[in-house]
Amino acid sequence: MSFLNAEEPSACDLVTDFGINILWHPSLGMELGDNLQKLLKSCASGQTALDILVFEGSVVNAPGGTGEWNRFAGRAMKDWVRDLCKVATFVVAVGDCATWGGIPATAPNPSESQGLQFLKRKAGGFLGTQYRSKAGLPVINVPGCPAHPDWITQIVVAVATGRGGEIALDDFQRPKTFFTSFTQTGCTRNMHFAYKVSATEFGQRKGCLFYDLGCRGPMTHSPCNRILWNRQSSKTRAGMPCLGCTEPEFPFQDLAPGTVFKTQTVMGIPKDMPTGVEKSGYIKLTSAAKAASPRWAEEDLFVV
């Protein structure tokens, strides 16, 4: 559904400007029932070329490894996934469920869910570490809950225009172009982060959300404040803490009450530090930043 909101390029652009033939999509596909089965079988047999398989949702293995809890087009979804991954030139996993299992794979994982090549942080997943698509690449992971639509379409266009082999991936097989910087990169609250001024309630326009409200922007890899949502804003810009949804551990702390929108601390110091920051350095920085903070940092800058 996120994909349909894409703007640069849009889902229509994929067809009209880049000549992509979308064989099937849950909202756009014309085939139903027997016709869909025929199409899928045609792809699995190689009769119809499958250049890019974009998969969304976790691979459900329950009960007992059969996958029968998630049936699709007459058989277990996981059987279609295995067959289609064998013939696809490129495979793109979209969203946390397809990449690392997502919320369904959170312990105790009753649906025995997996991502295509990861289960949370552990490599392997449904297809195994050795899996390579026909192009010789592992699954390209575009995580997020949801994934930003433009991340999806831009990767699909890169692949469709013959630049798939140039997509540099990080250790979690995420395109580096999107997932090297942090959610915090470009956040309008960075001044407040620097001067250690905290937001203490949702929607406040002053203050950083990291110190008290559980924001994971400083340790989450995503371009949410570079490629804005709906071309307008982002969670943190709107006063909502980043939940870290592009990282394999999402959802953090197993969604235990009192943990999601509260910065976890040990003796008053954040348990999870901004990436690359040591505890002792953090304490020194806090002291210096507070002492140096200007008056305006305590006020609402964004007057309407």
């Binding site: 203490t200 110190y211 008290d212 509260k262 003796m267 110091i269 954040p270 002492a291 305590e298």
Partner: protein, 105 residues
């Protein structure tokens, strides 16, 4: 009386109250979010004008605390220029050299 005058008067009152040796609950320090939340719950149940109970439950002291000399100045809730604790459950004027057990950085 303007807002800043009210804040100054209240700061003076709290200063005097702490100087008289008010015994506050500096221990236990809330090591986890659950314990932190329990203190906040206690504070929320107070009469808004019950300043003394707020200071006692919050564990206010008028000097730095512990071997690391923790103080309001480093706390995330402290607004340096306003000399104010911005934690909604406290919302009182404070001095940079004070400390309470809701201290976080």
């Amino acid at each position: 009386m303007s807002g800043s005058e009210k804040d100054s008067a209240l700061l003076q009152l709290i200063t005097q109250t702490l100087e008289t040796g008010l015994q506050t609950q500096t221990e236990p320090f809330p090591e986890t979010e659950v314990l932190f939340g329990e203190i906040l719950t206690q504070l929320r149940h107070l009469d808004p004008d019950d300043l003394k109970s707020k200071l006692v439950i919050g564990g206010f002291i008028n000097h730095p605390y512990g071997p690391d000399k923790q103080r309001c100045l480093e706390c995330m809730y402290f607004l340096v220029h306003r000399k104010w604790c911005d934690l909604p459950e406290l919302s009182v004027p404070v001095d940079a050299e004070w400390w309470c057990r809701l201290w976080r950085i």
